[in-house]
């Protein structure tokens, strides 16, 4: 594994996958609920998941078990400017290493109700999301 892949530069774009079924994104008003970035208290023990655009297409990033997803695009440097760290966290998917996977470790299962996470999710949704693309139909 090329260790340089673990370095995420400030200029990188990252994707956050948003299930269309949750109605967190309202296409009519172009508004996104902070709940799109809220940690799951069982699944997000090390941080919420994001995808590095440099290593995966937006269409592939939108694939999941559900039917349809939006993708929120953010810039890593914007998050770090507000104290939200972004770290590379490659995973093994179907026996293949996926280096596009990364996490926001500051938003995790242990602190999902904290003042800081509540503010950060709102910041991510209302200020730091550059655009929303989709919906993408997913074959899961």
């Amino acid at each position: 594994m090329n260790l340089d892949c673990n370095i995420i530069s400030d200029d990188e774009i990252i994707y956050r996958r948003i299930p269309a079924s949750m109605e967190w994104y309202d296409g009519t008003t172009n508004t996104l609920s902070p709940e799109a970035f809220s940690p799951h208290k069982k699944n997000d023990t090390t941080g919420i998941s994001i995808t590095r655009a440099a290593h995966k297409s937006i269409e592939d990033a939108a694939k999941g078990m559900g039917n349809s997803y939006y993708i929120a695009e953010l810039r890593v440097g914007d998050l770090r400017d507000h104290g939200i760290e972004v770290v590379s966290q490659p995973i093994i998917a179907d026996g293949v290493e996926d280096i596009s996977h990364a996490e926001l470790p500051g938003l995790n299962a242990a602190n999902y109700k904290s003042d800081g996470v509540i503010e950060w999710t709102r910041l991510l949704a209302e200020k730091l999301t550059l655009r929303i693309e989709g919906p993408f139909s997913s074959q899961g």
Partner: protein, 136 residues
């Protein structure tokens, strides 16, 4: 502290608007606060109790019947107040009622563990937070 006693400056606690009056210039065709809240209950809260398969596919914990009943109870308690602009589930099976204005937001969050709380944001900053609200 009770959910209906959050202070006169909050959006949720504004007096009921005059939409339900008749006469010249009245907005009688618009929903009253109560009608809007009842719509929240029937179109969102009740629906979420019926279809959980899609939620689980997306890695979302569906709300329990207890959480849904609690949210309906909170909605009934607030039904004389301004109805929320946004009603969504959180990822852990909680429910969020949110009022949105240009530079501020108010939230009633019914958490999956049964806690009900109020949050007030100004310019994105959490400036008020009242946890463990009484809702009965």
């Amino acid at each position: 502290m009770s959910i209906t006693n959050m202070g006169s400056s909050t959006l949720f606690c504004e007096p009921e608007a005059s939409q339900n009056t008749t006469g010249p210039g009245s907005l009688s065709s618009e929903k009253t606060n109560q009608e809007a809240w009842l719509e929240v209950i029937s179109e969102k809260l009740t629906r979420w109790g019926c279809n959980t398969d899609d939620l689980e596919k997306d890695g979302i914990t569906p709300p329990t019947s207890e959480t849904l009943h609690l949210a309906i109870e909170v909605a009934h308690r607030l039904c004389s107040k301004k109805a929320p602009d946004r009603v969504v589930l959180d990822v852990n099976g909680g429910i969020v009622f949110e009022l949105l204005k240009k530079n501020s937001s108010e939230v009633f969050h019914i958490w999956d563990d049964g806690e009900v709380e109020y949050q007030y944001f100004k310019e994105g900053k959490l400036v008020q937070r009242h946890r463990n609200l009484e809702y009965k």
